[in-house]
Symmetry: C2
Subunit: 166 residues, 2 copies
């Protein structure tokens, strides 16, 4: 199992393939409390402002962040619209578990788990895990350019936090 303990800090996201199971790990540190990261992921008005690549517009159709709720958003530029949807299995201050599908491949479903670990000094480490049903599907995501959305999204979240808006 890949461990976050081997690295001191993640000012940029580390995106890594798990060596054993078809999972992607993402680690990222924020100047935030766990409560702020929880809020940024569960409040649709906040999530809309930071998720996805810069220069694209996110619109949230559904964001019912509770055990058994569901979510859907679109991410658009002048040229195209992409849609994503899923369910919230677990929504707790320290842990969010949700399903994730890009509607362009409706039969591909990932199971995503996010945890928020307090580091002290007002910093918190986000650990995201995306579990796919095959290594091919997992490696397809890693080749998809997903790092752009991850990095630009988390930079936008940094800015929201710095502006005191979370």
């Amino acid at each position: 199992m890949t461990s976050s303990d081997t690295r001191t800090s993640y000012p940029e996201a580390a995106i890594e393939a798990d060596p054993t199971v078809p999972m992607i790990h993402i680690w990222r540190d924020f100047a935030a409390t766990p409560e702020q990261l929880y809020r940024a992921h569960t409040d649709p008005e906040l999530a809309r402002q930071w998720m996805g690549p810069a220069h694209r517009t996110v619109e949230i159709q559904q964001w019912d962040a509770r055990d058994g709720g569901s979510w859907r958003f679109t991410d658009s530029s002048a040229d195209d619209v992409q849609s994503f949807r899923g369910t919230f299995h677990t929504v707790r201050p320290d842990r969010i578990v949700q399903t994730f599908t890009w509607e362009g491949r409706p039969d591909d479903v990932a199971l995503e788990t996010m945890t928020f670990e307090e580091l002290g000094d007002g910093r918190t480490r986000l650990h995201g895990r995306s579990l796919c049903d095959s290594f091919e599907a997992r490696d397809g995501w890693l080749r998809s350019g997903m790092e752009t959305g991850v990095n630009e999204g988390y930079a936008a979240l940094d800015a929201l936090l710095a502006a005191g808006q979370v």
Copy 2:
């Protein structure tokens, strides 16, 4: 990938560990149409009558079988009550994708996919896949005695089908 094609029929459930990913496969043939198997899994009054081991009582608290819905049931004997819950990610006549948690281990979440393949002659093959986030979790399920609930549940579904109740 384990394939159902290597075996002719599954009058009893075949429960197999995937060789590559932390997944359990279940194959089972029924004297039913795909529509009947879909109904048996999505209608809570039908599901209640066949799910789980014989000699235990299933009570359904929630069974909102639609994309983005959720479910919960309890399974009890005179001595104990077990609770299970999850979400429905995809509900289509040919495919159901749902999350699954035994509430005794609330952080363990499996992603389950069921497909219904018409075999002809009024028979349909159910293929269930349960994806876990580690091989340890998967192997724990395989050692849990899950085959009792699977086999007795599907035998009860055979009886409902034979009685024309699905």
